[in-house]
Symmetry: C2
Amino acid sequence: MRITAVAETQFLEKVFQKAGFSATDGSLLADTLVDADLRGISSHGIQRLDWYIRMVQDGTIKPQNQVKTLKETDTSMLLDANGNMGQIASALAINSLIKKAKTTNVAMAVIRNSNHFGTAGYYSRLAAQAGLIGISTTNTRPLVVPTNAIEAFLGSNAFAFTFPADPHPFVFDGATSSVSSGKIMVLAKNQKPISGEWAVDGERNIIHDSKKAAEILSEVAFTEHQSGGGVLTLGGNKEENSNYKGFGNSLVVELLTGILAQGSISADTNTGKHDFSQFFMVINPAFFGDLATLKANAEKMFERIRNLDHIPGTHIMIPGDREYRNYDYNSEHGVVIDPKTTQEITAIAEKFAIELPQKL
Amino acid sequence: MRITAVAETQFLEKVFQKAGFSATDGSLLADTLVDADLRGISSHGIQRLDWYIRMVQDGTIKPQNQVKTLKETDTSMLLDANGNMGQIASALAINSLIKKAKTTNVAMAVIRNSNHFGTAGYYSRLAAQAGLIGISTTNTRPLVVPTNAIEAFLGSNAFAFTFPADPHPFVFDGATSSVSSGKIMVLAKNQKPISGEWAVDGERNIIHDSKKAAEILSEVAFTEHQSGGGVLTLGGNKEENSNYKGFGNSLVVELLTGILAQGSISADTNTGKHDFSQFFMVINPAFFGDLATLKANAEKMFERIRNLDHIPGTHIMIPGDREYRNYDYNSEHGVVIDPKTTQEITAIAEKFAIELPQKL
């Protein structure tokens, strides 16, 4: 079904308050999910609600806990998300870094004891809106098999980088691995095969059956039992195609998150203590030159790339192009909620005695 | 042939002085090339000498020019390499950032009017030796075809990230594209085919003939004439294998280098003004926790990864493992100089009336 973003927001705010979050925190959580749905990143939209509520109910998430600032300087922050949702500490971090970077030109934050924070791009986009470069990363549950390995160890480890530009900023946002587990889950839900080199089994054979791949990912992400296999690093299955570079990118995120935060590394979040860590950075491009000039130069480059000769029938898109197009369309026509999520939020609405958003 | 690193250094220092560099700058240039040869990165070793000397002789490189500091704060630098070799401004930048980051925790530099700077890893390793995280990037000549495009536009855009650890730091260092052009040139020189998805022709067919690929790269990198094709982004030929993520990584480097520096973007360095730009960052991990603990935790993670179940007959290597092994071996047995480079340096030795290094 389709519902308006306003209706989605109002519904989510009510749910999060009933679940025990403050009004402010509930609004933030709602905004991150609605924003993802508007941008067509439905893997990180309202379909996460059921999981979030379950984590509150099983005590993984502590919705009343306050973020603790453990260390802070003009340029640097170490925060403790204190077992609450990742969005809360992350928004605090990025908003502080935006202020800091305007005077110090560069600032960074690490968050420990955190959890899912929505899309990485949400925070980096806040920096871009302020005329700044934003970098956001998180580790995740273990999903990804290193080069030559046959068992998962690394997280899908999202990375977002934004650069101010008009009509919209450059927004590069996604898993550092070949795909996120969400993309595989969506195919499995729709009973469609995997065409690309996304996942392998315990003998490192490429899996095209999305249901089989989804089962492997559920096992590696949520149990201690590892029968092998997982998502591939960017570069695919073979070392000759430089998949060690995708492995390196994923490791960079592990080092900046779990290691710097002294939290769990991705490999240790499938059972027991379930904590993710985040790293944020904001850079002020205006230190290096007039911001309007830099933005115009970036946009000129993007426009030249969009117009390069290309394979007939395809388009060349700059990171961000697709999500801003979706944002405009879905703002006008409403966001899509899939049937399974509709079932889930219907049950949540009944449980909390809240009215469901009206179908468009 | 093999020669000792000491003999290579002495030879290079003499050549660079004869070519017009100061003794200090010549020593630095020699060190970056010898270091690459010791680490087995021969594409960035003494085989670059002939090209460097030709750039001095045709006026592209101005060996007497001094680096200019255009702007500087506690955390930030904008430098002008002033048409001299990239190594000179880059070493100045990284050494300044190492000092800055020890007090401000994070510091960054952008360099304009620069040129080839050797390996990106050279500078990041200096940060790691000081117990810091080092990030180094550069743009390059145009070589890489964006997702769905059939003409080259992006540089191979090197990225190096180091993290302190024992017995050696984490050193992730390489082109952001599927491969550097150097790897293709080496195969072409040895008349070996390309087995992986590295390069495409003007119809985006994968090229396995390394000579043909080398010809395309020479055309796109050094002429205005573009008959199409180039190196692939990380992720290979097909959008379904997420090659737009490799494209995104390459664009991040373009933005941090050519755009922030207001220098040429990679696409515009094949003819006319030949300037590269660099971006460096240093982060102090000790802000976030005890350095010895962070290093030990990183090494524990690396060791667990090295020991994961893997495909029989393969090894799992952490970025840096191979180059430190090469360093130890070549320090003892000497560095390898290929026949073509031997011819080139023989001619250079004659021209400058310098004795060739003794063959081991």
